[in-house]
């Protein structure tokens, strides 16, 4: 059984300096209530692993505006000018990853792999400092796994056992981050008793806490 908590209770678990993974693609599929609660809790010096930094008023972008991160690992920052400003002025460390590499690094961290070789990024700034290797005639980069302390997920439906199901493109990074954190907290639009086991995308055993939005 996943324990049902409030967004504020979820945010209160996070300490200064923690690494958090947050689902969502330009805030579509991001846990907004948890982001709001993290802004209220005002926890600082976080490291963020997320596809992007959302919008100034949506998703993790709200935490950017509130200057809660010391480091961001993402694939794109263009929709939140404040991220760029903080980066330019040396207030924020940013590590840009190709999107496919980023999600695969998170997956590797979640499924116990030590790293992988990918052709993406060869010959680009992404390759700097990375080991390369020719495999089947093709140059590849070695990329390493990523993990964090907390994963904050947004799902469309959750059940009392923690099983999650997403809607449409709201799925994005959510299923992979559920594997790559010590503590997994899912914000759900709807909570049900249980679902068809073939409908489950994220197995409930991965989910420690559920934050409801339908109450």
């Amino acid at each position: 059984m996943a324990k049902i908590i409030t967004a504020d209770e979820a945010a209160a678990m996070v300490s200064d300096g923690d690494t958090i993974l947050v689902g969502g693609f330009l805030a579509v599929g991001s846990p907004e209530a948890i982001c709001d609660a993290l802004v209220s809790s005002n926890v600082k010096n976080l490291t963020l692993i997320c596809n992007d930094t959302g919008w100034p008023e949506r998703g993790v972008g709200k935490l950017i505006i509130n200057k809660q991160f010391k480091k961001v690992i993402a694939s794109h920052l263009g929709t939140n000018k404040e991220t760029g400003r903080q980066m330019s002025e040396g207030e924020l460390e940013v590590e840009l990853n190709p999107q496919g590499t980023l999600i695969e690094r998170i997956r590797a961290g979640g499924v116990g792999l030590g790293g992988f070789y990918t052709p993406t990024g060869v010959g680009t700034p992404v390759a700097e400092g990375k080991e390369t290797r020719v495999i089947n005639g093709r140059e590849m980069l070695l990329e390493m796994p990523l993990r964090g302390k907390f994963a904050f997920i947004k799902a469309f439906v959750g059940d009392k056992h923690g099983n999650l199901r997403y809607q449409a493109t709201g799925r994005n990074f959510n299923p992979e981050i559920a594997l790559a954190a010590d503590i997994v907290i899912a914000e759900v639009d709807h909570l049900v008793d249980f679902m068809d086991p073939d409908d489950v995308v994220t197995p409930g055993v991965l989910v420690d806490y559920i934050v409801r939005r339908d109450i």
Binding site: P98, P125, A168
Partner: protein, 218 residues
């Protein structure tokens, strides 16, 4: 016809029926307006869908269904959703038949630069590196020269690359150029230009194929 329509009309004819296609934001999206009759394509959006349809009517948007620019989408019968790991598995694994991208610079080896200018703020590569590296056919669409009139099709890219030796076709309002192992081959020119004009606006040397250069049809 403006540049987008010219590029859109000719570019759309590069596709074959049944292809899985990913169009970048901006000029690449214009190709979707001109898909020829009888050609059915599957459009992927890398945030997790294949088979999306037109923009929904106002008031009928699903906040969970957007493209990679966060604009609302619809889904067609036969479409499907998936997570980002699967989406980029499709891209990097060579399952995407064609991707169309914009460029800052492209060169005669098919190197592509479209995501950063040193000294300027880098918004990030998003999915562009994976798309340029993994897709079976990579088409870049661009105005032939930049706003100052300088060539964008170079002997060698000066900007940091998005992907190395990955471009197959370069399409502008003036020309359709194929990237081959022997360099750039001029396949078609626009009706209102000449081979000489195209070459003069291109830093890289264009090869004229034995079978000749066609005049582009729209």
């Amino acid at each position: 016809m403006d540049v987008r329509e010219k590029v859109g009309r000719r570019g759309a004819r590069l596709f074959k029926d049944g292809m899985l296609v990913n169009l970048g934001i901006g000029m690449p999206t214009s190709l979707s307006n001109y898909i020829p009759e009888g050609i059915k394509l599957h459009f992927q959006t890398e945030n997790g869908a294949i088979g999306f349809g037109p923009t929904p009517e106002k008031g009928f948007e699903n906040p969970y269904l957007t493209n990679a620019g966060a604009n609302p989408l619809t889904i067609l019968p036969g479409g499907c959703y998936f997570d980002s790991a699967t989406s980029f598995g499709l891209i990097r694994g060579g399952h995407v038949d064609a991707t169309v991208l914009g460029v800052l610079e492209v060169d005669e080896k098919g190197n592509l630069a479209n995501y950063m200018v040193p000294g300027k703020l880098v918004p990030g590569m998003g999915g562009a590196m994976d798309l340029a590296t993994g897709s079976k056919m990579v088409v870049v669409v661009t105005e032939h020269c930049d706003k100052k009139g300088n060539p964008k099709i170079l002997k060698q890219c000066s900007l940091p690359l998005t992907a190395k030796e990955s471009v197959d076709w370069i399409l502008s309002e003036l020309a359709l150029i194929e990237v081959t192992e022997d360099g750039l081959v001029l396949r078609e020119i626009a009706p209102n230009t000449t081979i000489e004009e195209v070459q003069s606006k291109t830093e890289a040397t264009l090869t004229i194929p034995i079978e000749g250069v066609k005049v582009m049809e729209y």
